[in-house]
Amino acid sequence: MSIWRKALTTAALASVLMATTAAAENVKIALVVKALGIGFFEAAAKGAEEAAAELGDVEIIYTGPTSTTAEGQIEVINALIAQGVDAIAISANDPDAVAPALKKAMDRGITVISWDSGVAAEGRQMHLNPSSSALIGNTIIKLAADHMPEGGDVAILSATSTSTNQNIWIEEATKVLPNYPGINLVATVYGDDLADKSYREAQGLMSTYPNLKAIIAPTTVGILAASQAVTDAGKIGQINVTGLGLPSEMAGAVDSGATISFAIWNPIDLGYAATMIAYNLNKGTAKAEPGASIPMGRIGAATLDDNNEAAMSDPFTYDKSNIEQFKSIF
């Protein structure tokens, strides 16, 4: 009897000890996405796992609702609070609606950050943007300039003339233009994010500027239409189409050579960086306050602005070397 009791007590004690050491060792970080089954977020989860493997003492919980609703995300958040996770990194379906639930999570000592799609300031400690307008503006010019050693004419094919994002990026791009001597921006036209109108605008550019060396389209619709127009005009090799595009849509253009390279955020890096930041904030190695610098592992460090927002990095460049890997992701 007493032997049994002793054995049982030891076993119980051992299991309690093991449980506590396990709990003390592993930081549980929940990566909450807009909805499960979206390639972009599955890729982000891969990045999070990569960060976890690098850190060693991290357990990633990849979760999200079945459809992109705020109500569904709140149910997920409540379940995560109940489990007592250490950190939540969320790409929100609604910046305001999830804020009360996330505020509750923070009240219970959980580290909360948002990434990709932000949360209202009161519902998170910091927000990680994939990139910044200045970085995007510079990247789209650089993508064209890198393949024009002798310089030459370039044109921009944008979305609509009122698209806020595109206008800011183009403004930033024109600012850095003097850094690229020999690159001559001859026109900015608008395809209204319609495939057929973008195609016609690209044709117009080619006939108006016979010496055109590159078309820069900071929109996924525009870059696809322009690469098609260049292909159809038989000008592959003469005119390089670049800008912001989706790997799944651009794989054909990269294969044919109409597009040498293009850029967009890398979801793997984003998931990786979000995990790193959540870990560092949770461990107390960094603080979420304006001006703070939070380490993001191999990507560098994120510097917070006055709204506790940070930009991760330059948009990621896709070309023949990596398009095969990414075209199935998003």
């Binding site: 499960l36 999200g64 459809s67 709140i74 149910e75 409540n78 109940a82």
Partner: protein
Amino acid sequence: MTGIATGRTIPDRLQSRTYRALRSWETILLVVAVGVFVINSFASPHFLNAWNLSDATFNFTEKAMIAFAMAMLIIAGEIDLSVASIIALVSTAMGLAMQAGAGVPVLICVGLFTGLVCGALNGALVAGMGLPSIVVTIGTMSLFRGISYIVLGDQAFTGYPDGFDFFGQGYVWWVFSFELVLFAVLAVVFWLLLHRTNFGRAVYAIGNNATAAQFSGIRVARVRFILFLLTGLMSAIAAICLTSRLGSTRPSIATGFELEVVTMVVLGGVNILGGSGSIPGVVLAALIMGMVTFGFGLLNVPGIVMSIFLGLLLIGVIAVPRLLRGK
């Protein structure tokens, strides 16, 4: 019971069979609910925690409030698929009132009034003009949410006044949230209304045979109209709770709630063709759906598994009584 065995008098057989089926269905639900509770307790160490369980009730309280009214509507042989859109419109109306500087009591009145107007429109089209409710409410489903989208576009109403957050985030006592208490009170009210009043009897009568009910002196159109009003009102109450819980309004609020509400009602044993069902069944169905969702969430089971589970449960609900009858 012996009456069934001998099968002498046909009316007796029908009545006692229905009665038996109803009783047994709620028993099955109760067993399932207890089973889910026990399994969850073993599956996750975090389940049996008063605050966690309290948080979990938010998964179903708002939908269940609408489900009570929807149950009566379906028992009467009608349906309202516009409930989620009524939530969107009510929330938008409250947002507009908030922007105009309204205080909490005015916001509540605006919300309830908007819900009643929506219900009255559905009721007038169905009961007044005799149009089929499924078609009418599919139409108003687009109409009500459409208005929200026109008003808000991709914007959101935020900054509801202090005190408004009580309805969706406040606690009456200890872990008992306002929503949970309201859910319990409304369950009792609807139980009394359906099972203990003439109005409730009329609802069953209409669902079983509207023509016969009409000839028995029941004012069928009026009862139907009141049921749609009631559904609009309950949607408004749910909208107030949800808006308060989210602290904001977007036109996409409560997307897909109508199907979850109907699922809850059917799972609760209400005959989708009308004529039978009970409030305790709906309460149990709400508890089961809420606890299963929460239990799966605690184990980080992807939500799609929950959808599969619910789908199977729903098919089971329809199939089991038929199989029993076939036997």
